[in-house]
């Protein structure tokens, strides 16, 4: 079967094939009359050569007609589209249409204002139009259509290390992809797919076409209709999909087979945040181009480059304190302004467990900046509590709401390891720490300290503690060190107080280990702080820039002025280098410039070292100074923040919910947003003796509540918050110049979805241009030869030839 690149030329041009015949007929009508004497010889010639001449004329006419037909066909650029043609010329044209359905595609910007349609609506129509054009074209093509969210659900983002767990740049817990995409352990018998992409239930991750709404198949009118229906049925997701993932997922399909023309259509809103010069998507696009794939970008963003202002709830989190029943918990909501003008008087609607509460108000948010508001929440009962913040509607509603889950305990258990084997009563370190964390009746801090010996590190389940405080511990055994380090790596907070019993050598060798261990810095040994004159106004403690001591920063604090430090554990000289490298952060310093309190990240947790005693042995801070209590409570909240943030996820991530008081196989009902549908999952045993359920990649923002019956027979509930990635609210468009800068040397076309024409049909099949050209040349040569033979070409007389010859 032959198809044409320009089929209309065939219909317009083929009638020209009759031109030679018309010319012949016209010539018959306009014979010149010549009286001739020797007509008898002409008649003799006609009698003798009539058949030959007639045959020659017919051949000549056929050749001229063939020349016209050949010229027309050549201009129409035919292609041979049979399987044989594909075999010879690789004529199979493969088109993959990737529709970006990330949350930013819900943008309703239009001409700098609010429009009726979203970018996704335009992109959906463009994708359907592309398939319809391919189906309507005279030339066959194979087409596959996928939404980027479906492809992203199949493939881990290239920027993430699939083998390592850790903390993402937002401080949230992330699981290894192998853990977050547990195909082999995916929950069986899920009752609903409201929040779960159905592709994942029925398609394997290794199936290159499994995540496609339209797997690769011939583009037909029926196909086009099916794509339109399928896309109409699918709203834009709330995910933050990386276009690079979609491109990489499409690449195997595009490059499969040989000799094909391959086209990738990426229908997206092309936000600046995704198209940096060194971005993943730029690299993925370059891989496409290197594989010979034609890259066509269809821009379905707003018709103007100016984007209407968009506000995003960027952050909603507990910013201190201890989330315990009856305790005031401070939360902070942060709103970013992605517009080009300052936004004033922004009201934030707040809800606690679904009930409205007094909202927050932001006086002004500068363009490109953010503003925050703090508010306190007190939860009466233990359990998972929801706090929601919502902005008024704007061009992108998906990022206007945010939900946070506050896991409120009756009391936040804190493990205090006392290094004094005698337990010195009211004078020891443990007493001063425990008293500061839990002063007693009338001052509810929500903290429940539990004082234990070092051996408890190896015998207790450390996972149940908000933080672990080690007070002048002379030495830890390897099992205790291992348990402590595992706790810290898993997000736990650890505080070391040093003192007379602290052995610097043992700490350096067992706990610091050249930076590999949990202790933040190497120690040199105890030293006395140089004395100072009574009139010297410089306090012994200097406050550094750190949120834990932020309440003491700023103006000179008389409470800190009263603190006297006599002796400290000096840091080894190497610690200065580690500090300079950025691994160690100071909270408090001494007036000599030496560190007093330092912090270092360890795994997903935080470890703090206080280079003096908790008891008023080497200093007098804990002796009746209120700032001691404040700093310790702030420190406890700071250390526990990692564990509390573990309950917050981004839409699209396969979230894990920790199931307490349960065993492997416990059935858990999960209520999913937005309509409260319930899916039943089975708990599995996880690392460190935990039990958890693994949610497939989430599709909707909101609270996912897991309910189960614990081993004690009681009902348990744990909720996680799933939010839209706030980066989706950055609606700045990259534009053609930005794309060109991001993709140097990569050939691509950028077209507007609104201006998308019917020229999406690209070549397929074996191009017949060259053979046709050769055939046409042969026909013309044959015609000329035949005409030469049949014609009369007078020869100049010899005298004329002689005259024309140069002298």
């Amino acid at each position: 079967m032959t198809a044409f690149d320009f089929p209309s030329l065939v219909w317009w041009g083929l009638p020209l094939a009759a031109v030679p015949l018309f010319i012949h007929l016209i010539n018959l009508l306009r014979h010149r009359r010549v009286p001739f004497a020797a007509i008898e010889f002409l008649l003799a010639s006609q009698r003798k050569y009539r058949t030959r001449v007639l045959l020659r004329q017919l051949i000549l006419l056929a050749l001229r007609t063939a020349a016209v037909v050949g010229l027309v066909l050549m201009l129409a650029q035919p292609r041979w589209r049979t399987a044989l043609g594909s075999f010879f010329g690789g004529g199979r044209a493969v088109h993959v249409v990737v529709l970006d359905d990330s949350a930013s595609m819900r943008d309703r910007s239009s001409g700098g204002g609010l429009g009726d349609t979203t970018a996704y609506d335009r992109g959906r129509a463009a994708a359907a139009r592309i398939v319809a054009d391919l189906a309507a074209a005279a030339r066959p093509a194979q087409v596959a259509v996928a939404r980027s969210s479906a492809l992203a659900a199949r493939t881990p983002a290239p920027s993430q290390d699939p083998q390592s767990a850790g903390r993402d740049d937002g401080g949230r817990d992330v699981l290894p992809a192998a853990t977050r995409v547990p195909e082999e352990t995916a929950p069986a018998g899920a009752g609903s797919d409201a929040a779960v992409p159905p592709e994942r239930d029925r398609r394997g991750a290794d199936d290159p076409g499994g995540s496609f709404d339209l797997p690769l198949q011939a583009a037909t009118p029926a196909t086009a209709g099916r794509v339109a229906d399928e896309l109409d049925r699918r709203p834009a997701s709330f995910r933050a999909t990386n276009p690079a993932v979609a491109i990489d997922a499409a690449l195997p399909i595009l490059t499969a087979g040989s000799g094909t023309e391959r086209v990738l259509w990426l229908v997206s809103d092309f936000r600046t945040r995704d198209w940096g010069v060194a971005s993943d998507v730029a690299a993925a696009t370059r891989r496409l181009a290197e594989a010979g794939v034609t890259v066509r970008f269809i821009d379905c963003g707003a018709t103007t480059e100016a984007v209407a202002g968009n506000l995003t709830v960027e952050r909603l989190e507990v910013v201190g304190g201890v989330p315990a029943a009856g305790v005031l918990v401070p939360l902070e909501v942060s709103v970013r302004n992605d517009g080009v003008r300052e936004v004033q008087d922004v009201t934030i609607v707040l809800r606690e467990d679904g009930s409205s509460r007094p909202g927050a108000r932001l006086a002004a948010i500068p363009p490109g900046g953010a503003a925050s508001a703090r508010f306190d929440v007190r939860f009466a009962a233990a359990g998972s509590h929801l706090v929601e913040a919502e902005l008024p509607s704007d061009v992108l509603d998906a990022d206007n709401a945010r939900v946070a889950v506050v896991d409120v305990a009756e009391r936040a258990a804190v493990l205090v390891i006392d290094g004094d084997p005698r337990g010195d009563g009211r004078t020891g370190d443990a007493f001063h720490v425990a008293t500061a964390l839990a002063p007693g009746a009338g001052a509810a801090t929500g903290v429940l300290p539990r004082v234990e010996s070092p051996r408890a590190l190896a015998t207790l389940d450390l996972d149940g503690f908000d933080s672990i405080w080690l007070l002048d511990v002379p030495r830890l055994d390897p099992p205790e060190i291992a348990a402590l380090e595992a706790y810290a790596r898993d997000g736990g907070g650890v505080v070391f107080f040093t003192g007379p019993r602290t052995q610097a050598d043992a700490v350096n060798r067992l706990l610091h280990r050249g930076g590999e261990g949990v202790f933040p810095l190497a120690l040199a040994g105890p030293v006395d702080l140089p004395g100072k004159a009574a009139s010297d106004p410089v306090p012994d403690i200097v406050v550094e820039d750190h949120p834990v001591v932020a309440v003491l920063a700023g103006r000179r604090n008389p409470l800190l002025d009263a603190v006297r430090v006599d002796r400290v554990m000096a840091a080894a000289p190497l610690a200065a280098k580690a500090e300079a490298d950025g691994g160690i952060r100071r909270l408090l310093s001494l007036r000599t410039g030496a560190p007093l309190v330092v912090e270092r990240e360890y795994g997903r947790g935080t470890v703090v070292a206080v280079l003096s005693t908790a008891a008023p042995t080497w200093n007098n801070w804990s002796r009746g100074n209120p700032s001691w209590v404040v700093v310790l409570l702030e420190l406890e909240g700071h250390l526990a923040r990692g564990r509390r943030r573990g309950a917050e996820w981004i839409v699209g991530e396969p979230a894990a919910i920790r199931i307490d008081d349960a065993t492997d196989g416990t059935e858990v009902d999960v209520t999913t947003p937005p309509d409260g549908q319930v899916i039943r999952l089975t708990a599995i045993a996880a690392a460190a003796g935990r039990t958890e359920i693994l949610l497939p990649p989430t599709e909707s923002p909101g609270a996912y509540a897991a309910r189960w019956i614990g081993l004690d027979g009681d009902d348990h509930e744990r909720t996680i918050a799933v939010n839209v990635d706030p980066r989706e609210g950055r609606l700045e468009r990259v534009g053609r110049e930005g794309l060109a800068a991001a993709l140097p040397g990569v050939a691509f076309t950028l077209e507007s979805a609104a201006a998308l024409g019917g020229e999406s049909d690209r070549a397929g099949g074996l191009p017949l241009m060259r053979p046709l050209l050769a055939l046409l040349a042969a026909v013309l040569v044959a015609e000329q030869l035949l005409a030469l033979v049949a014609g009369y070409h007078p020869v100049a007389p010899r005298s004329a030839r002689r005259a024309a010859r140069p002298a």
């Binding site: 009286p35 004497a37 007509i39 010889f41 002409l42 003799a44 001449v53 049949a790 009369y792 007078p794």
Partner: protein, 306 residues
């Protein structure tokens, strides 16, 4: 010289022939006095009268029989002094009207020029010249005379069939014409047929045989247009026969080869037939100079005599 004679006697043709000095064939035609040897010497002299001998007369012309009877010297005077009777037979059929594209003369105009030139040449040498114009029959004719003024009569014959318009040109019929000429010519002589020989191709050979049977020396000047010889026609053309109702619409390029082949065969056959009957044959193109054609013709005859 009459206007007609100017028309048919191009000066350049006369000048070229005058330089070459006509050498007539001695064997058949005889030689003009002082230049030619003739096998028919004295037979053609017709006695006119006697007159008394005067000083200076050629003694060979003295009639010695009269001197013996009367003892007085008389010389013989003859009515005419010639050894050649030239008869020009010119075709004036319709086919001779053809004039090719770019040609200055039609075939008949060319043939008339050739005939008049020969007549002038012969008369200038004192030979007798007769002329006949024919198509299917003899349309006009004058007997052979030696008078220079006879040239006007010859020219009149050549002009009459075309100028009078009292009858349309007909197809050529050579056999009856040549037969009648053979019977009407009183003495043997040179008969030059100037024609395109189209039409009655079958009558040529019998007609020539009749002339040769009467011991006439026969020469054929075959006049054809260059277009007839080369057939340079192009483009759709409807050819209409000049001597009949035949016509053919065709692309002439397609039939050129066949035409040239048929014409070539005919010319070759005609030349062979003429040679077989011991007749001179010369093909004259209408676009070549008439003088050149005559020189070629006369030179060929001179070489045959030598």
């Amino acid at each position: 010289m009459t206007p007609d004679s100017r028309r048919y006697l191009p000066p350049e043709a006369l000048a070229r022939i005058g330089h070459l000095e006509l050498r007539a064939r001695a064997v058949v035609e005889g030689v003009l006095a002082g230049l030619h040897k003739s096998p028919y010497r004295g037979q053609s002299v017709e006695f006119l009268q006697h007159r008394e001998y005067v000083r200076g007369d050629d003694l060979r012309r003295v009639d010695w029989k009269v001197w013996a009877r009367q003892d007085r010297l008389y010389v013989k005077e003859f009515e005419e002094e010639t050894n050649l009777r030239l008869t020009l037979v010119v075709d004036c059929s319709a086919s001779m009207d053809y004039r090719g594209l770019g040609a200055a003369l039609s075939k008949y105009e060319c043939a008339s020029t050739v005939a008049a030139s020969l007549a002038w040449l012969a008369l200038s040498h004192g030979d007798a010249v007769g002329c006949a114009a024919f198509d299917d029959r003899v349309r006009a004719a004058v007997p052979a005379r030696t008078s220079r003024s006879h040239l006007a009569s010859v020219v009149g014959v050549l002009a009459a069939p075309r100028g009078r318009g009292d009858h349309p040109a007909e197809a050529t019929s050579l056999l009856p014409v040549l037969r009648s000429l053979a019977e009407s010519l009183p003495r043997r002589g040179l008969v030059i047929i100037v024609s395109d020989l189209l039409g009655d191709r079958d009558g040529l050979v019998p007609g020539l045989r009749r002339l040769r049977a009467r011991d006439h020396d026969v020469a054929i000047l075959h006049v054809l247009d260059d277009d007839e010889l080369d057939f340079p026609f192009d483009g759709p053309t409807r050819f209409e026969g000049l001597e009949g109702l035949d016509e053919i619409a065709c692309n002439p390029r397609a039939f050129r080869d066949g035409y040239l082949e048929a014409l070539g065969e005919y010319l070759s056959r005609t030349r062979q037939q003429a040679a077989a009957l011991d007749c001179d044959y010369e093909l004259i193109r209408t676009r070549e100079p008439v003088g050149a054609a005559l020189v070629r013709f006369l030179a060929r005859r001179a070489s045959l005599v030598a």
